[in-house]
Amino acid sequence: MKFILFTFLTALLVIVFNPFLPYWGVMLIVAVFAALIGNKGAGAFFAGGLGMGLAWLGQSIYISSFSGSSLPDNMGELMGFGSGLPLLALTGILGFLLGAFSAWTGSLLRQLFKRKPDNIYGH
């Protein structure tokens, strides 16, 4: 449950802040967010990755369909992919990697400051 919520909130943060911030600014925000309330380890990695990846993929799909422009296809051709679809995938994957590593970093930072339980054997 927390995984889905974290994914959703990361995506929301990207959608809200990305229009004003370059990608590395968004990475910082994702990292800070993961540090504040994040999942642990792999959970953070995949939730952050999916959040940013889906946000980027969704926005690219939205722009392609809303604008009706041939630009994605032309860019795909220019870059040797033949069509725009691989570019959609590449955008999603890049978003995933940036979000995933950012969230993972944030989550590990959180671990650093997390107080150890003081009585690990205790009752």
Binding site: N18, P19, P22, Y23, W24, M27, A31, W56, Q59, S60, I63, S64, S67, G68, S69, S70, L71, P72, D73, N74, M75, E77, L78, L87, L90, T91, L94, L97, L98, F101, S102, W104, T105, L108, L109, Q111, L112
Partner: protein, 804 residues
């Protein structure tokens, strides 16, 4: 342990963030390019989706209203000229920023900054020709002689720069994103540089080739193969025109020593083949409505974003509309409420070469008469992407830059040629266009033209008051007969240009009795004109077709004039083909393919329409035969230029057995028929391959008209295989890569009726639906309505923006 884990992942994340911000070879930084909020995805929106009611533009006297019609043509309504040109700069940059900057980078010899070392030679050539040097002199000249125009140039630059300063990453033109650089500030200098670049695009010379030809052929044969006034020339100014001035004296030296060796250099790049234009005006006496009609279609390389950008520019004092050049002020080919004008290239040899004899290796002094003159040095620093800057030392003489020397394009130590070109002299072409934009009559037109130096143009004119006129305007050197046709000896002061033809002596005509004026890059005048007007590239076909039609036509309508701009009649074929068929004889009757082709050619009506097959056959056959005829000449090691098509056809008709057709290196005696038959065999071979590989050889499919993005590697941003007719030497001059870059027809009645179109679109953004949307209509010979709009006119508005 935790710390190490954190640090490792942090390092990985930072490394990832940095890696995706960096280019790898030709691959641009991935994250800025793919980020859907700032990268190329954002360039998918068309302008109407991004429309804003109000935009900030500082330094305006009054708010400026910009009304876009349904084709995204902006109509700018400003309170005064300073506001108008500031807004023109801003709006042009909004739609064409990358293009206007890229073109001036090319003009300044700065392409290496964008694409890296592969452009160094191109940049060196541009700089050694002295385009930027000419623009520096031009800006000083404008500052000193015409501060008003200079102030407007600055207002325009300010408008462009305010747009650049407001530009966010999302709206940065996609070419910047792919090539990974950013726009720099605009300046008045760049506007002037752009006009110099036009000169470079339109002016050529064949001095080097003629020097070699003179050596190879001798004077007599040269004059026979390359006559300066061939029989049947139809000049721009009507034959028999009376010259109402007393010509200046030009003294020809009694003995001339040309540098006499064959010159093995690559000549300067010449204007693209197919660069030319048509313009004409018919008087009210020849039109159905009784109003004059003016037409103009400049032929240039077909590119995207288009060279032209349409606009209406309005102040309370004037309202002008037509084609602008992004980067230059005002309308270049267009009309206002009172007059219309258009341009064609007035080719004439205004670029001459002088052989320089330096005193010693240091090249600090060169011989001039019996003394030594001091040279100066200009160091060109060419910045190169991903490398150290390239430093090029260019020596300047009083003639101009030494383009060719031991460091450039020559292996010989003693090769030094200086270029004399009027583009290096102070001039103010910008003011010509500003004055035409506000002009009201023939006098205003003449006053405007007095400022125009280069590239020399045939300015056609028509006014609401019923005048039609033509003037060939440029700053033309005063030359003795033959001067500048060949490389000259720069050490001999008698080789200098002896001044310039005064503006009042430039050939012009007003309301000639034949009822029309016209130009299509042909000879300017008949041989009675008292000045030497040599050029190698005068055109022989479009002008004769045009004048024949205009002479015959009566009750002319706007539609007739549009039809004439789109006329596909292939006059060269009509004159050459019957002769070729006759010379071919009956030797190929047993070959089925040959029979098929000959029958297609015999049935042909000589129109190069897109669906016709015969134009392809003729084109290939002619090319092959022409190649055969001048085979020995073109096999010379030294660069030469071949006799033109017109002269070649004359030889085929008048002396088919003549000596000129004999190839000296073969034992047989060749005649025109030999070459025509050889050419036919060549054509059979070419067509066999074409039919096997491509199939259909209808004309459009063969010539494959392409409108190419300014970066040729960006194939996906080009439009290929445009289905349209015409070709080089045809009024509809659309060949594979060049053609009518703008078509305009204007009727000057009480209400101006205007039509225009160009092969492109108003948007410079390849992602916009307005990027290439005019091309289908253009290819069909259709036009857009270009009537002047009033500020409060409601119909056909896409959106409106107030600049404040």
């Amino acid at each position: 342990m935790k710390y190490i884990g954190f640090l490792v992942v942090l390092a990985l994340t930072v490394a990832l963030a940095v890696a995706v911000s960096m280019p790898f070879g030709a691959i641009p930084p991935l994250a800025p390019l793919l980020d859907p909020y700032h990268g190329f995805w954002q360039n998918s929106f068309s302008e109407d989706k991004l429309a804003e009611d109000e935009l900030e533009l500082n330094n305006l006297g009054e708010p400026v209203n910009v009304v876009y019609d349904e084709h995204l043509i902006p109509h700018i309504f400003a309170a005064n000229e300073a506001d108008l040109y500031r807004a023109q700069g801003y709006i042009t940059a909004k739609h064409r920023l990358w293009q206007m900057e890229f073109q001036t980078m090319a003009a300044a010899g700065r392409i290496s900054e964008i694409v890296g070392p592969l452009a160094i030679d191109l940049d060196r050539m541009t700089r050694r020709k002295g385009l930027a040097y000419g623009a520096e002199i031009g800006i000083k000249f404008t500052q000193e002689t015409d501060p008003e125009t200079y102030a407007l140039l600055e207002a325009y630059a300010d408008g462009v720069n305010q747009y650049i300063d407001q530009l966010d990453d999302a709206q940065l033109p996609v070419e910047y994103k792919i090539l990974n650089y950013r726009p720099e500030q605009w300046s008045a200098f760049k506007s002037i540089l752009l006009l110099k670049y036009m000169t470079d695009m339109l002016v050529g010379d064949r001095d080097l080739e003629y020097s070699n030809l003179r050596k190879i052929l001798g004077d007599a044969m040269l004059d026979k193969l390359y006559p300066e006034y061939p029989i049947g020339v139809e000049p721009i100014i009507e034959p028999g025109h009376k010259w109402e001035f007393k010509p200046l004296e030009v003294s020809r030296p009694d003995s001339i020593n040309y540098p006499n060796d064959q010159i093995l250099l690559d000549p300067l790049p010449q204007p693209e083949k197919g660069t030319g234009s048509n313009n004409w005006a018919v008087s009210g006496a020849k039109t159905k409505s009784g109003n004059p009609i003016l037409a103009n279609d400049p032929h240039l390389s077909l590119n995207l974003p288009s060279l032209w950008y349409s606009m209406q520019l309005t102040t309370p004092n004037h309202s002008v509309k037509g084609a602008t050049l992004p980067g230059a002020l005002g309308v270049i080919s267009g009309f206002n409420e009172n007059i219309a004008w258009g341009v064609t290239n007035a080719t004439r040899d205004t670029r001459d070469w002088y052989k320089i004899t330096f005193q010693d290796e240091s090249r600090k002094a060169y011989r001039y008469g019996d003394k030594w003159m001091q040279s100066s040095i200009r160091i060109e620093e060419i910045k190169v992407k991903g490398q150290d800057a390239f430093l090029d030392t260019v020596v300047y003489t009083h003639y101009g830059p030494v383009v060719y020397d031991k460091t450039f394009n020559s292996t010989r130590q003693d090769v030094n040629f200086a270029l004399k070109w009027n583009v290096h002299e102070g001039s103010n072409e910008q003011s010509t266009f500003l004055k035409l934009n506000t002009g009201k009559n023939h006098d205003d037109y003449n006053a405007a033209l007095d400022n125009f130096t280069a590239p020399a143009q045939n300015f056609v004119f028509a006014s609401k008051s019923g005048d039609i006129a033509m003037r060939i305007q440029g700053k033309f050197p005063l030359k003795w007969k033959g001067q500048g046709k060949f490389f000259m000896d720069g050490a001999d002061p008698r080789m200098e240009w002896q001044g310039y033809i005064p503006n009042e002596h430039n050939a012009s005509t007003l309301n000639p009795s034949r009822g029309f004026v016209s130009s299509a890059n042909q000879h300017p005048t008949d041989s009675t004109y008292p000045y030497y007007v040599f050029d190698n590239s005068y055109e022989f076909y479009r002008n004769r077709r045009l004048n024949n039609k205009l002479t015959d036509m009566k009750d002319i309508t706007v539609e007739d004039m549009q039809g004439l701009q789109f006329d596909d009649y292939y006059l060269h074929a009509a004159e050459a083909l019957p002769q070729m068929l006759q010379l071919l004889g009956s030797g190929f009757e047993n070959d089925a393919n040959a029979k098929k082709y000959i029958s297609l050619l015999k049935q042909w009506d000589f129109y190069a329409d897109p669906n016709q097959k015969a134009p392809t056959l003729f084109y290939v056959w002619w090319r092959e035969a022409y190649g055969q005829i001048w085979k020995e000449l073109s096999e010379n090691l030294a660069p030469v230029t071949l006799p033109n098509y017109y002269q070649t056809v004359l030889f085929m008709k008048n002396e088919p057995e003549g000596e000129i057709f004999d190839l000296k290196k073969t034992p047989e005696v060749e005649s025109a028929a030999t070459h025509v038959k050889e050419g036919f065999k060549g054509m059979l071979e070419v067509m066999k391959n074409w039919e096997a590989e491509e199939g259909d050889f209808s004309w459009a499919n063969y010539k494959r008209t392409k409108v190419q993005h300014l970066v040729p590697q960006f194939g996906a941003f080009s439009v290929e295989n445009v289905y349209t007719g015409g070709g080089a030497g045809i009024l509809n001059a659309t060949s594979g890569r060049s053609g009518a870059s703008w078509r305009m027809v204007v009727e000057l009645g009480p209400e101006i009726k205007a039509f225009g179109i160009y092969p492109g679109g108003q948007s410079g953004n390849p992602g916009s639906r307005f990027y290439s949307n005019f091309i289908p209509a253009w290819a069909n010979g259709e036009y857009l309505n270009f009537d002047l709009r009033k500020a409060d006119q409601q119909e056909g508005v896409l959106f409106t923006t107030i600049l404040n």
